[in-house]
Subunit: 307 residues, 2 copies
């Protein structure tokens, strides 16, 4: 049995004109490191859940991506992170929203799944589970990046002038991973700092099971990135699975339909990554680019930014 | 064109042996008042959204039901409320989680939908939207009921002895409404205090679009009540709509399948209320009872507790 792993580091209007060769190389390297971390788990016969958590931790640790270290700032200048995990064999799931502290919010989500009878914990309740699980915490210095802070100041300055920024990084920063392991089990994980200058307390699709994150061995595992409110109202991740289960569509057909026909016409810019029980991978997006990559048993790691 | 309205006040092991004639009459009266409040809107040609909010406000105001006034207590002795609304014509949605303050959390959810670009706001962020909307707030005295406080003390005492209570009121308190107005539009609203002695920060299915609350004019409006974590992992409300949309099932078939075949075998005790675009109503549940009722154009108000 073969394994398969796909990851994303966000989607949006990734303009070639603003990209330098150095920056582009850094993104590819960050994606490749995350794929290698997940692949190491799968290669040894490890579980899809362990692989997606390992891959997302690597993306959270990399300040280039908007999750964990390098998360964007709210309009109050704070950082609030959301994350979720789901395993396809049991449909067990865990999620956290509005937290600041754990270096890897995806591990806090996993702790909610494994250490409590609940699916979603917010704020202090989520942090106390992370503390009980003895997860490493970071302080403001650990999570700070000049570029995110500057993005906040620029956004606030434009907002003061009555304009909203068109900075693509503002709306589309999320990381995620989906995997199928050698036992045929699926898992998904997603993590985000949200939108630059978002209202404190705003929760997007990332920690909402069925919106930004979903996994069911019977169909597929999905992680989304994009305009979170639209992904939530169209239950994007669950809808990919629903089209496969009820209409008999392939992963490719179902994922493409949701991204191109459901989300795109309804202001739902973004994309998603998905893997099915046979290890097939789909990575559709309806915007300029999506940081993404994949690897399967016996194949080389491949990373992409544009179409 | 006819209108239709259905409501619930929670589901679970509602034991006849613990019910008195006086208590039973009070529940029926509370349900009837909520139906009358929603019907008054629909009778005048008002919108489904206004009707479900009016009905849920009446249930929140009635201390017998676990939402708004009379919400249950967390293990810390605090009250944390969740609510959501969704309208079928646009799939617009609003939700709040983990809030204490607004007398009618469902109105706070509506304010998030109407006054922000977001779907879900938690904690202080949600409260500041409620304040801007000038919604009436209540204090601890307003929300307090002796019976809920006593239920917390009893639960904590049992927990101290290493036992969990089997008090049905602990796990299954939620209120909700679904409606179809004379213009053929659908809406859903759900509100809850959660579970007695829940961990602070625990968010169930109520404010999760697609889990406890969903509406789409093309299919149905749904509000759920039961074991929230399972409703979330099975995306219960969205799945009723998905079965109708993709399999061509009737409202009755789809709602019944989700409650009896998806939720029941997976520890998902509870039920849901649903209405479709033709004004048909379904109110399936897989436990002993569900406080519920419905009314349609030209018919009398009917309320039920047991099968």
């Amino acid at each position: 049995m073969t394994y398969a792993l796909a990851i994303h580091g966000g989607a949006g209007t990734i303009l070639r004109s603003k990209m330098t060769p150095e920056k582009e190389a850094a993104y590819h390297a960050g994606l490749a490191r995350a794929l290698a971390a997940g692949q190491a788990v799968l290669d040894e016969g490890g579980a899809a859940l362990d692989a997606v958590v390992a891959a997302v931790c690597a993306l959270e640790d990399e300040p280039l991506f908007n999750a964990g270290r390098g998360a964007v700032y709210t309009s109050d200048g704070t950082q609030e992170m959301d994350a979720a995990v789901m395993e396809g064999a049991t449909r067990r799931a865990g999620a956290v929203a509005g937290i600041f502290g754990p270096r890897n919010p995806v591990k806090a989500a996993r702790a909610v799944m494994e250490r409590t009878p609940h699916v979603l914990l917010i704020g202090e309740g989520a942090l106390s589970v992370a503390r009980e699980a003895e997860l490493p915490f970071g302080d403001a210095d650990y999570f700070h990046t000049d570029s995110r802070w500057d993005a906040l100041q620029a956004t606030l300055a434009m907002r003061a002038e009555g304009r909203e920024t068109d900075d693509p990084a503002r709306r589309h920063g999320t990381v995620g991973a989906v995997a199928r392991d050698r036992d045929g089990h699926l898992a998904a994980a997603t993590s985000t700092g949200g939108m630059t200058a978002k209202a404190p307390g705003r929760v997007g699709d990332t920690p909402i099971i069925g919106a930004g994150t979903f996994a069911d061995d019977a169909t597929c595992a999905v992680s989304g990135t994009g305009h979170g409110e639209i992904f939530t109202r169209w239950t994007a991740a669950a809808e990919v699975a629903a089209r496969m289960r009820h209409r008999g569509e392939s992963l490719e057909q179902a994922a493409s339909h949701v991204v191109m026909q459901d989300l795109a016409p309804n202001d739902g810019s973004g994309g998603l990554i998905a893997v099915d029980a046979a290890g097939r991978i789909a990575m559709p997006f309806n915007c300029e680019g999506m940081y993404r990559g994949c690897v399967t048993d016996g194949a080389d790691i491949r990373t992409f930014i544009y179409r």
